[in-house]
């Protein structure tokens, strides 16, 4: 696709200068006069009734502001999809680290001592910690059967496929919890003024989620709650829902104390108490022909949602819709459910259910290939979706989609055939085994199904008195490039320079509700709306006689100034309208699940050291089709960052649980990749376009999280010849898998040979 003057070019990141000079203000960099610091007293058990709370001696409790559930003026909940999660536990706790009391003091150093001096007596109740325990129903901890949500996708007649099959191949695949591990911990400042209501400033992704939640918690109208996003040091989904909790806490303390209150989590509190990626279990049963054609199958996708519903229903939806991968299924039944356990609620993390179900699909494809004795490439090639075919939900694949071409290019870039042959011949002589693995996948951009229609996002572009324009959105910047890309779109649309367009700090008093910054929706959905609003500005100027049809940049800016001088500052708003061809049946889970899919083929090369069982990733090719690449450097950075997180998900990042509490909530023992652990990640794009996005853009943020784990694990399996069906695969796990295999010759997939 053609580049414009600004779109398609790597202009400097809008807030980049402040970031490289240390001037950018994150929430902990900011203080208000007379500010207190807040801390949270949390449950130490997974489930039970609170019997007694004792404030220990040695602390002058008069100096502390203390808040409990009784201080909540509105409904005691963190309002999101449901309202089941309390803001402060009231009588019962359902997971470790559940907030019970809040403290504030002017000296932040005294707070840890005070928290430690409070002892809480419980009557413990039996707790459950795994999907299997939840399914057993020995303890009912949520609803009638511990289920937050189920969904069912049905296509064709699955009953008929088993008798037509040459092989029926089964497998079970698991993924663990994963911590987002943004480097800036969660934090929030709240202030209460009886005249204006509550204001919070914080590290967050979704200003209007926090806004909605505070209105409910304090029983206030919308104009009495103001939410402002500060510079945010990484989020990755981890600051989608939990900031509503912290904002509530800070605001409760601010109201009770009459002073501003700042709450900043330390690393361990952030890691043990806030959300993580949902652990998952996926079971595949696939009917297949001798030559590797998928006839149909059943997929059971189950995720552990933790103690409260939070975002689990929508994580489940996305995971289920992506569970069939980029393949054509003539018939399929996908049964998905999110279950409750007594662990802190799991939440959003880049990919949002898709990395879990795609790990299973892509491992399963390699297992099918192994059983059929055909190559992992061929099994994929024979089943990749083609234009005119339909996805598992019946969405028709568009004309320009050419997955065969994408696959071929990735193989060329990775030099797949010759590397594969070389490793096979060299591995016999070496204790360091090399392998190469592939993953093909897709990721839907924007909210699932009717989500965008319900959100009905509004954006604005306003004209400032100096003639420059300012973008007004609640879409937040936390590293991905929101600020830059939206300004590029406006500048390109109107023929302006990049510096002529500014973006407002997300502040619910200043910007309309353009929805949350999640779901790979900003560039595609919000970008398109911002483009419409920009066109509206031009329309106002031309219809008012301030601007001719053909104009220069200088003439446009002069027209803006002239308009403002005569009529005052003005803004143009645009509201989302569902494209006519995006039709979704919420009941049947069928139709167009997303306005657009991005497509990708990733190839990883690994070395497994059979002395230490450690794995190094030696090469990584990430090829994707994302529509128009609006900003090559930012887009590449999204991919490399997502790939690094995906490699961590596969190899390093293991949450160690005991009684529902994370035991390794430190950077010392929860390991993410460092610069010494990763190869240069080679990023390539195809641009096939997208009718629904600004300048043809699709979503990009989550896609790179989906493919690395299966590509890396498929490469390990290629290297050592043993199927690894659970991640993370640490050296200990690989050692165990190899030992088990040597002892019993176990293979995890079962084959029914129909010959």
């Amino acid at each position: 696709m053609r580049n414009g003057n600004i779109v398609g070019r790597s202009v400097p990141r809008k807030e980049g200068h402040d970031k490289v000079t240390g001037r950018a203000l994150y929430v902990d960099d900011w203080t208000l006069p007379n500010m207190l610091y807040g801390a949270t007293v949390r449950s130490t058990i997974p489930r039970g009734k609170i019997k007694n709370i004792t404030f220990g001696c040695g602390i002058d409790w008069q100096q502390f502001v203390i808040v409990s559930a009784q201080d909540i003026p509105g409904k005691n909940c963190v309002a999101l999809i449901g309202e089941d999660q309390p803001c402060l536990a009231d009588g019962v706790v359902n997971h470790p680290e559940e907030p019970i009391l809040l403290l504030a003091h002017r000296d932040r150093h005294l707070l840890p001592k005070a928290v430690a001096a409070i002892s809480i007596e419980y009557e413990p109740l039996p707790a459950i910690f795994s999907i299997e325990e939840s399914e057993r129903l020995s303890e009912i901890i949520w609803g009638e059967e511990n289920i937050f949500k189920t969904c069912l996708i049905e296509k064709g007649d699955v009953h008929r496929v088993w008798e037509m099959a040459d092989h029926i191949i089964e497998g079970e695949y698991r993924t663990g919890a994963q911590e987002q591990l943004y480097i800036e911990n969660n934090g929030m400042i709240a202030e209460f003024d009886p005249r204006y209501g509550i204001t919070v400033w914080g590290s967050l992704q979704c200003p209007y989620y926090v806004h909605k939640s505070l209105m409910k918690l304090f029983n206030l109208p919308e104009d009495r709650v103001r939410v402002v996003q500060m510079e945010t040091g990484g989020a990755f989904g981890g600051k989608e829902d939990y900031p509503s909790m912290i904002a509530g806490h800070a605001a409760l303390l601010a109201i009770k104390s009459g002073r501003p209150v700042k709450i900043i989590y330390d690393r361990m509190e952030d890691m043990t108490a806030t959300t993580k990626r949902h652990p998952s279990r996926t079971r595949h049963r696939t009917a297949i022909t001798h030559d590797g054609q998928i006839l149909g199958g059943e997929i059971q996708f189950t995720i552990d949602g933790g103690a409260y519903q939070t975002l689990s229903p929508v994580v489940l939806s996305r995971g289920a819709i992506h569970a069939g991968g980029p393949y054509y299924w003539p018939a399929v039944r996908i049964q998905a459910k999110a279950v409750a356990t007594n662990v802190p609620p799991h939440g959003a993390f880049r990919g949002f259910g898709a990395p879990q179900s795609i790990f299973a699909m892509e491992r399963h494809m390699d297992e099918i290939a192994r059983v059929l004795q055909i190559s992992p490439i061929e099994i994929r090639r024979r089943n990749l979706l083609k234009p005119g075919q339909t996805t598992t939900t019946g969405q028709i694949v568009s004309e320009e989609t050419n997955l065969d071409k994408l696959l071929n290019r990735a193989l060329e870039l990775a030099d797949y055939d010759s590397q594969k042959a070389r490793f096979e011949s060299e591995n016999a002589r070496n204790s360091k085994k090399k392998g190469i693995g592939i993953a093909a996948f897709l990721h839907g951009a924007g909210f699932t199904g009717s989500g965008e229609r319900y959100l009905s996002s509004v954006v604005g572009v306003e004209v400032l008195s100096d003639g420059r324009l300012r973008v007004l959105v609640s879409s937040t910047e936390f590293g991905q490039g929101t600020n830059t890309v939206l300004c590029q779109i406006v500048a390109e649309t109107l023929g302006l320079a990049f510096d002529d367009v500014l973006i407002a700090q997300p502040d619910t008093n200043q910007v309309p509700n353009s929805g949350p910054t999640v779901a790979s929706r900003t560039a595609m959905v919000i970008g398109r709306l911002v483009q419409s609003a920009a066109i509206g500005i031009r329309g106002t100027l031309t219809s008012g006689g301030f601007l001719k049809e053909h104009y220069s940049r200088e003439e446009f800016l002069a027209a803006c100034r002239a308009y403002v001088e005569k009529h005052g500052p003005f803004r143009s708003l645009a509201r989302y309208e569902q494209p006519a061809d995006v039709v979704w049946d919420e009941e049947k889970y069928s139709g167009a699940a997303y306005a657009a899919f991005a497509w990708a083929v990733y190839i990883a090369e690994v070395t497994v050291d059979l002395t230490t069982y450690s794995v190094s990733v030696d090469d990584f090719v990430a090829l994707q089709e994302i529509g128009k690449v609006l900003h090559p450097v930012l887009a590449t950075g999204q991919i490399t960052g997502g790939v690094a997180q995906g490699i961590g998900f596969a190899l390093f990042e293991k949450v160690v649980w005991d009684q529902g509490r994370m035991q390794n909530g430190q950077m010392t023992n929860y390991i993410i990749p460092t610069s010494a652990d990763l190869p240069p990640i080679r990023v390539y794009f195809e641009e096939w376009g997208n009718a629904h996005g600004a300048f043809g853009a699709k979503g990009i943020g989550e896609l790179p999280m989906d493919g690395p784990a299966p590509a890396v694990v498929n490469a390990i399996t290629d290297a050592v010849g043993v199927a690894l069906n659970s991640i993370p695969a640490t050296p200990e796990d690989i050692f165990d898998a190899l030992s088990l295999n040597n002892q019993a010759g176990v293979i995890s997939s079962t084959t029914v040979n129909r010959d």
């Binding site: 490289v20 000079t21 987002q180 480097i183 510079e231 040091g233 590293g479 460092t674 010494a676």
Partner: protein, 165 residues
């Protein structure tokens, strides 16, 4: 949040930071990180983990890269400290800052100050590091956004621009 234990007495401690003399009154075991952020108002020094793992609080102390969350302020007495705020001269960015801006080395920005100082330390010892040397030298500074590829490219670009190659 700090876990510093409170000492009864505050001490007067002086050091040079970004070329300016600073005198503070602090408990000897207070963290250099807190003193720089709260008393000298240098909030470009970031706290990521508070235990020396992430490198976000990196500063140069007497030319050595240190995690300021692990340095008791007493040890900084008489030291020469450089933070991210000391790199740009007026409005002209340091070559590393410009390269991070051009090559995508900064995304969310929270690791950026520490990362740039770690890179500065590397280039001061080794003006033309190999990719492996860069990976090794920056491995004490965690970044969750970039996957490091563009950080390494930024440092390589700064090295090229500095040495004129």
């Amino acid at each position: 949040m700090s876990t510093t234990t409170h000492q009864p007495q505050k001490s007067e401690i002086s050091f040079t930071v970004n070329g300016q003399r600073a005198t503070v009154h602090a408990h000897p075991m207070e963290r250099l990180l807190d003193v720089l952020r709260q008393q000298v108002n240098l909030t470009g020094v970031k706290e990521g983990c508070g235990e020396g793992e992430c490198g976000s609080c990196s500063v140069l102390m007497n030319g050595v890269l240190v995690n300021s969350c692990l340095v008791p302020i007493l040890q900084a007495n008489g030291a020469d400290i450089v933070t991210i705020e000391g790199l740009a001269s007026q409005d002209r960015l340091h070559v590393l800052q410009q390269a991070f801006l051009d090559c995508g080395g900064a995304q969310c920005g929270i690791c950026t100050p520490g990362m740039i100082l770690a890179a500065l330390h590397l280039l001061s010892k080794n003006p033309q590091p190999s990719r492996e040397e860069m990976g090794e030298a920056l491995s004490g500074n965690l970044c969750r956004c970039t996957g490091y590829t563009q950080i390494v490219e930024s440092v390589a670009e700064a090295a090229r621009r500095s040495t004129g190659r």
